[in-house]
Amino acid sequence: MNARALAGMLVAALGAWAVFSIYHTPAKAAVAVAWESSNQCAQCHPLPFDEWKSSWHAQSWTDVEVRKQNDDFGNSDCIDCHAPQPVFETGIGNRVLPRSTRRIEGVDCIACHQMLDGRMAGTVDNPSVACRPLAQRELVRPEFCAGCHNQHGTIDQWKASKYAQPGPDFQDCIACHMPYRDPADPTKGRNHTMHGGHDIELVRRAVTLEVRSIAGAPQVVVRNVGAGHNFPTDERSRASDIFWRPLDGSDTPQPWRKLYRFRNPYRFEVGQPNTELPAGQALELTIEDDAARGAIEVALFFKLTPYYEDPERPDPERESILVHRVSWKP
């Protein structure tokens, strides 16, 4: 090819580019908006906003139980995770830092989606709308949740489980906690209620309760079959208790008897071990009590706060939530 032909081709290419530039109208870039409240998101994203609004993330600042535990945030150590600065600002995988405005919105849209340049991380690129979203894979990485949720080791527990290994069992945080609204149509997006321990159906799917006979005695087996982390996890206030009672056929059931507690205790609870049940593991306990020689009932309860009003006479049916109940006869 001679120089003249080469120059001709170059000129033609530049000409085509010039024509394209003249006639192509790029999407008009939206004017940057100052994001001062997650309420601003509701206008264009009512569904995820309403889902989030009903979530515990949205109540992380206002929840009465939380406020009781931290003395109305008089313990300001709690602010870091309960009203965090945007994760993209502090850096994915880094520990979060507290913010000084819109704390009442808790862990809000801005905390997860706002990027350093004021754009919003999402699943599509679109510079022409107000929040100028940019598709960001980081949003779905477990490290994104780690700044808060690994403070008690939840992400590390997941990493040690089969769910973190590449392959058919792989499931990340959002697979369970932000499932697709319509599993048949992922384009409808993910559910932003981010359900967890407050959703008893999710808790029920996480564990199984079985009672089997071992040499004539009842053996209770609890398996962590569905949680990708310990059961329970994250919050020290969470606990799950196994209770049992003889079934003597009378109309008035006997009081529940405590068998075991799954919980990671607070630091000041000296001498109490961490008894959480890791992902995929099972706990087997044989009830040796003479009262368990006949028919018995065994139940697994879940508690959002760890203590019973009267530790000597706990009333799990009133003070906690039933997860599973099983009857057994020798």
Partner: protein
């Protein structure tokens, strides 16, 4: 040809619509920073020199000490007394042996007591470490002999090892034995630290038995008289308010104490919040002598170190007044400016008023503006009213508006315009902002009114205080109702 090409390209370039400029990331301070905390810690360590491994105890000395310990386990009281004195006279060389016995749960009470006494007398870092370790052991295993902790706390207070202060402060978070709490408070006071007063007040008010409450009251009275105050309230006030009259005994920090503080500041950069929480808790209860170290840490290269140092200074309150100039510089550090602003208010650095007022303007980030308003409220200077007023209007961003309105109340609670009060009352119950901020401001306003006009506001102020309880929505609702009654037109 070339010219035509250039013209065409220029034309194409000018005709394409250029996209709107992308906002720049939040400005970051570009000054060269250094790892202040790590460097200062290294300096202190260098000054302390390499740690010397404990010397071997000569066999003869070991045998004598062991013999004395056995005598202490015997039944002869007179012999035990003699053995105790002799053990003490053996000197610090036997400290490792006594430390091991002090940690032994199976040791006889007289042995434990004598070990604690002798280690206290030795007054060396190793001996103090043994006493501290015995106190702290309750956090990892059940301690069935809390009296030993009491002994250890007492003995630590007779020496010069002030570096035990941070660890004793942290231990107060967990200690369950009221006598040990009392002795830790006394030991802390011996080193010019009055962080133990809080625990004594709690026991005095809520102790389970009269004996516990009496002991707390006696200790409070004793500490007050020992330090030249008419009562413990006056002592506590002096401690909280940063001792403006310089009446508190505040000895300079030893090198070992500085090492403890720098180690905690360096630990601010840790990922796990547990250690960070402990460090913030401990350092925020240090004496004002810790302030210059924390102020220096505001220059650290690590933003976590900087921001947690600023938070700790805020919690030190008036004891951190000397950090004012460093905090003023931190107002230009985009990563920690809002925290620096709030801290300037909390430490009461009045010289910051104009700098904080300048940060209220619309050219500043909203979180800094809001924090600056809150800080002006904490400074409570009537001269700030003019700066705050424009940001109390309805068209101002909500957080800033509420912060400025509350600050306005704090700066001059006696003469707040009625529309502003009504607006704060609405915000207190709107669910749009945290109710605590307007609730506290309105409490201040009501108290000021009651002071001015007891007849009209006294009853309401009393009822406001009575409506307590740990259910915030219920409390806020009842208090709002009370104020609505006050604001209603008089018939």
């Amino acid at each position: 040809m070339k010219r035509a090409l250039i013209v065409t390209l220029a034309c194409a370039g000018s005709c394409s619509e250029s996209p709107a400029p992308v906002p720049q990331p939040v400005a970051q301070t570009q000054t060269t920073r250094r790892p202040v905390a790590r460097e200062e810690l290294a300096k202190v360590m260098a000054e302390l020199g390499a740690p010397v491994p404990p010397a071997e105890i000569p066999d003869e000395l070991r045998e004598r000490a062991q013999g004395l310990l056995e005598t202490l386990a015997g039944t002869d009281a007179a012999m035990r007394r003699l053995a105790r004195t002799e053990l003490r006279d053996l000197g610090p060389a036997v400290a490792p042996l006594l430390a091991a016995r002090l940690a032994d749960d199976a040791a006889a009470p007289a042995q434990l007591e004598a070990c604690a006494e002798a280690l206290g007398e030795f007054d060396t870092p190793e001996a103090a470490e043994a006493l501290l370790a015995r106190i702290e052991a309750m956090r990892t295993r059940k301690d069935t002999a809390p009296w030993v902790r009491t002994q250890c706390a007492w003995r630590l207070g007779s020496g010069t090892q002030d570096w035990v202060v941070p660890r004793l402060i942290l231990h107060l978070r967990y200690e369950t034995d009221h006598e040990t709490v009392a002795w830790i408070a006394r030991t802390l006071a011996h080193f010019g630290n009055f962080a133990g007063l809080d625990g004594l007040y709690v026991i005095w008010r809520t102790g389970r038995t009269p004996e516990m409450r009496d002991l707390a009251a006696q200790t409070l009275g004793l500490l007050a008289s020992e330090h030249g105050f008419p009562d413990s309230d006056a002592l506590l006030r002096a401690w909280i308010e940063g001792d403006p009259e310089q009446r508190l005994h505040a000895p300079p920090l030893s090198l070992l104490h500085r090492r403890e503080i720098w180690a905690r500041i360096a630990g601010f950069s840790e990922w796990q919040l547990r250690g960070v929480d402990d460090a913030r808790f401990t350092l925020a209860r240090e004496s004002r002598e810790a302030t210059p170290l924390l102020a220096l840490a505001l220059e650290d290269e690590n933003r976590y170190v900087r921001i947690h140092a600023a938070q700790t200074l805020e919690r030190l309150g008036r004891r951190a007044l000397a950090a004012g100039p460093a905090l003023m510089r931190a107002l230009d550090d985009a990563e920690i400016a809002p925290q620096a602003a709030e801290t300037l208010g909390a430490v009461g650095y009045r010289e910051a008023e104009s700098a904080l007022s300048a940060r209220l303007g619309p050219d500043q980030p909203i979180d800094l503006r809001t924090s600056a308003a809150r800080a002006l409220g904490k400074l409570a200077l009537s001269s700030s009213l003019v700066a705050l007023e424009p940001w109390t209007k309805d068209d101002v961003q909500l957080d800033l508006r509420v912060a400025a309105s509350c600050a306005r109340v704090r700066c001059s609670p006696a003469d707040v315009p009625r529309p502003l009060l009504e607006s704060l009352l609405r915000h207190m119950t709107s669910g749009q902002v945290d109710s605590a901020e307007p609730e506290n401001a309105l409490a201040l306003w009501l108290a000021a009114q009651a002071q001015r006009d007891q007849e009209r506001f006294g009853d309401a102020a009393r009822r406001w205080t009575e409506v307590a309880g740990d259910d915030p929505p219920l409390r806020v609702g009842e208090r709002a109702e009370l104020l609505r009654g006050l604001f209603a037109p008089q018939r």
